[in-house]
């Protein structure tokens, strides 16, 4: 038996994936760091296999990207005031976890 993901959720995720995020502006505003942006770009809108390889080669880095580490907040927290960035990151993380 398999349960398809609900259409409401998939269409919301599709909308968010298609939204342009002004990443460079977010870096200039201090919402995210250069280092975080390069990790995001390395897995955003690339083939699934390549994405998987990139993440698996840098698990500590990707954990720190999303949930923080070494007393530094991850993007989910540091971007808290930017709803568009948080939404995009949540969809990206779900895609990485679920292989979407």
């Amino acid at each position: 038996m398999s349960l398809d993901p609900p259409t409401y959720l998939s269409s919301l995720q599709n909308n968010i994936r298609a939204r342009p995020i002004p990443w460079d502006g977010a870096v200039r505003a201090g919402t995210i760091t250069d280092n975080q942006l390069s990790k995001i770009r390395a897995v955003d809108k690339v083939r699934k296999e390549q994405r998987k390889q990139t993440v698996e080669a840098d698990l500590d880095g990707y954990r720190a990207l999303f949930v923080g580490g070494d007393n530094k907040a991850g993007v989910v927290e540091s971007a808290a005031k930017r709803a568009d960035v948080v939404q995009y990151i949540l969809v990206l993380l779900a895609d990485l976890l679920e292989g979407a």
Partner: protein, 181 residues
Amino acid sequence: MDSNRYYVGIPALSAAISEHPDPFKPFLPLLAHSNNSEDPIPLLTSNVVTSLIAASPDLSTKQASALPKLFSYLATLTKVSDGGLQDIAVLEYSTLLRSRKAREAFWEQRKETVGPLTDILRAAAGVGSNGDSATLWSGASARSSEGSLGGGVGLQLLYHVLLVLWQLSFEGAAIGESFDE
């Protein structure tokens, strides 16, 4: 059931995140981000937290401690009038309840979690919450394009609610006796 959904992803990332000393800290406040049930942030957060919890068959203490807030948020979704949102919540329940610890935690919060599910069943059967029976299977119009029963409850939602109750029944010894409440 649903076994592919979480394993075609990157299990090593789930594992790495769960090794973080407090992996749910960034997410839990977002579940209470607003009282608007259509706010995408808590909805997307619940999806991520559900994935992180369901990725391992045995719940760690950290995972178990994230459940009450997640269940509380999902319970609010099961009470809205939008069948699409209700269905997301019930499917996330179903994913979480594969674990025994999660079924026990769900039952601990049964007033919050199970109550609205029985309301959905009552609505589907055309029975008011005060127990007066209206016409069974009255086929009211539904928002969804799929088939629906009384009270506009979609068949898919009804099926998923029954699935969740069936999963709970695995804790029969602990739960069965008080199910009648």
